[in-house]
Amino acid sequence: MLSRVADSLYWMSRYIERAENIARILDVNLQLLLDFETLDDARLKEHWEPIIRASGDEVLFYELYDAPTSHNVTDFLTFCRKNPSSILSCMLAARENARTIRDQISLEMWECLNQSFLFLNSSNARSVWDSGPYQFFKQIQDFSHLFQGLTESTFSHGEGYHFMQVGKYLERADKTGRILDIKYHILLPSVRDVGGAVDAVQWGAILRSCSAFEAYHRLFVASVEPWKIAEFLIFNDLFPRSICFSIRLLDEYLHRISGCPAGRYSNEAERVCGRLLSDLRFGNVNDVFAYGMHEYLAGLHQRLVEIGKAVYESYMFHPRVDIAAEIATQQQQ
């Protein structure tokens, strides 16, 4: 497979996963606001700022908007073309990547991607959004699921598919980590609320942001408890949005690409990924609290960045050819 094609498949898949996660975070948090009695500006800021941090760029936000109101934040994360992580920008980037490799993906995948882009870019999208964000965000998530289903059933499960899965699981692990990190920020300024009703609602929102509310309750039955949630979202081996699960599949697909047997490594990407996987497999929530949740998650994020870099260098990167030098060499021959 051409390196450029692998790169595009990887990013296409990553951007779609990113758009889906942002849609879910926004959806859950908009609904969450409905449960609060009244929110002054300070409380609103408290509510939205961590979300901006988790999914985008805080500095950029304040350059474009004056205050973190619900409307501004959702606009920034949904339609803002200047924000490279907005849903629209992600879908645009996913489609651009798909366009450069149209011949490589199935017609069904392309049509799905193209239609959702046409929808998002149309005035119709705004009106769906205005009439009810719930419907709108649902549509984005549905689209992502449709795309994944079409990928499963119309696209050969060969090398290209493996690169798509690598992109997807890397992005998912990262976003689950960031969603958990939101909670850390919410807790920080008002320690007195810990354990209160609001807190339970907010932790519930974290679970919902990962589609994990029901899965969590099935496992623990008990009420919402912060460390159990952290344990679930980081270490659960079966839930498909947990970090451990994502890294396990990431590891598996990396090995399928190289053909290297499981438990060993043939390149840097497999090495760093395998090391993270064993930390997650043999770790538990005590590590997280001993280390500090925020610090733990920041470290995790750093390691995911490292894996992404290693994947790029192992498979997609060829030392850039210096055209001038190349021309000179070829002219001498």
Partner: protein, 479 residues
């Protein structure tokens, strides 16, 4: 009810005779169209447009507010060619391509045709697309033009004339194939009874040709399609063809030349490439030989070609056969190389570079079509009868400054075809581009891209200037 007020006018109409009666090969479709109500028709039209849009069968238009993607307007009324006409066309086109390939082989080696004075040497040697670098280079099986998209028109009497040969990188074949799909979806019940020859095996033929020209007859050669990238307006087509053939689509930076061989960069290292279907012009192919600023090309590609380690379709240097001065000599080529008389006619051509003809051209600019010798796509053209004073004067200055670069032709009144325009059918001018593949044998896809000038009275069929297209049906029989 459609066709109540249809007028043939003073033109050759593809569907109706001058007295208004329908030509026999159009009788069935006329009946079918008459059954349709305006709502039915509009419904079919919108369904087709929507399916083009959702499949992304678009081209990009750039304007001040950025870029927009548009679909190539498609007209549901098909153009129909009866079998006997097609057989004639086929023979004529094969003959022409044989002569052009013989010509290219000759001028890049012995240059017999120049030595014997059939074509003045200065016309070939001064051609913008004559590539000295190809002198003495042998290409597999002596084929230079593997894919040819000849532009044909019909004059007032219905004679097919060759307008241009397009032996460089002709585009548009994907529209032909997609148009056929669209028609089948729009008329699922009518189509099977219409007796239309299928076009679907084009990509198979294309791949077979590529495998045939592999260097040293290599078995299972690695074939790729070289594209300038997704900003190119024909990128949809590049993807379409590569996908249908199951070959890689590569860009310049994906390829690298080492030891006179071409390789592509893959996730598992470098892999050798044997045959390249290139959709990049000569100028941009190899920055170490041609345009040094090109980022689209592959440095060293020419070295690999010279060493015989890679085959290109089409070969480098075919553009000289597209030169509009050389076009005028194609009938002579046919006589010289094949000892045959040309089967297809072409448009009479005056050279601005010949003193006598130049004065005639300059005196009659308002009655002639003037074309730049090396442009394609409807650029650099003056249609005298429709041009303003200023345009004519502008061309007068340009022609005087660079006579080698211009030719003039009498205006041909293109044939017209019923085309749906706001509620009913009206006559619009059309042309025809069949696609010819030359490998082990020469085959022509039965059909072609019929382009139609949608603007009333317009003679320009190019998509960038308000053109649309039609499905083209070649029938098994004559009715």
């Amino acid at each position: 009810m459609f066709f109540e007020n249809y007028h043939v006018g003073d033109f050759f109409d593809e569907m109706f005779l001058a007295d208004g009666s329908v030509r026999p090969h159009y009788a069935a479709i006329l009946e079918r169209m008459r059954e349709l109500s305006l709502e039915d028709f509009e419904g079919k039209r919108q369904a087709v447009d929507l399916s083009f849009l959702s499949q992304g069968i678009t081209f990009t238009v750039y304007d001040e507010s950025g870029s927009t993607e548009r679909i190539f307007p498609f007209d549901l009324m098909p153009r129909i060619i009866p079998n006997r006409e097609w057989i004639h066309l086929e023979r004529g086109l094969v003959q022409r391509l044989q002569a052009l390939n013989a010509f290219l082989q000759d001028i890049y080696s012995e240059q017999r045709i120049l030595k014997e004075g059939i074509i003045p040497a200065r016309y070939v040697l001064s051609g913008k697309h004559f590539r000295r670098e190809m002198m003495g280079v042998s290409v597999p099986n002596d084929i230079y033009i593997h894919i040819c998209g000849t532009d044909l028109i019909r004059d007032g009497d219905g004679n097919y004339l060759v307008l241009e040969d397009n032996g460089r990188c002709p585009s548009g074949v994907s529209y032909l194939l997609e148009n056929r799909q669209a028609m089948k979806r729009a008329f699922p019940n009518f189509f099977p009874m219409a007796g239309v020859r299928p076009v679907e095996n084009y990509c198979e033929e294309l791949l077979r040709m590529m495998q045939y020209i592999a260097p040293n007859g290599k078995e299972q050669p690695v074939c790729v399609l070289l594209t300038p990238g997704h900003f190119n307006s024909a990128y949809f087509e590049h993807c379409f063809l590569a996908r249908q053939m199951g070959i890689e689509i590569v860009q310049g930076p994906d390829l690298v030349v080492r030891d006179f061989k071409v390789y592509m960069r893959t996730t598992h290292g470098l892999q050798q490439v044997d045959v390249i279907y290139r959709r990049i012009d000569d100028d941009f192919l190899d920055p170490s030989v041609f345009n040094p600023d090109s980022l689209l090309g592959v440095p060293g590609l020419m070295n690999a070609i010279r060493a015989g380690n890679v085959a290109l379709a089409n070969a480098i240097g075919t553009g000289i056969a597209d030169d509009k001065l050389i076009y005028a000599y194609v009938p002579d080529m046919i006589r010289f190389y094949l000892s045959e008389e040309p089967i297809l006619g072409q448009v009479e051509t005056l050279f601005a570079s010949e003193e006598k003809q130049l004065s005639h051209i300059l005196a009659n600019l308002e009655n002639l079509v003037v074309k730049s010798a090396n442009e394609a796509g409807g650029y650099g053209m003056l249609i005298g009868p429709a041009a303003s004073r200023e345009e004519i004067e502008r061309f007068r200055v340009m022609i005087k400054a660079e006579p080698r670069n211009f030719i003039a032709q009498p205006p041909i009144s293109l044939s017209r075809h019923p085309t749906f325009c706001e509620g009913d059918f009206e006559g619009r001018h059309i042309d025809l581009r069949p696609y010819i593949i030359c490998g082990q044998n020469t085959s022509i896809i039965p059909g072609g891209l019929t382009r139609v000038a949608l603007r009333k009275g317009s003679l320009v069929v190019n998509s960038s200037q308000g053109g649309g297209s039609k499905d083209t049906w070649v029938l098994y029989g004559d009715e």
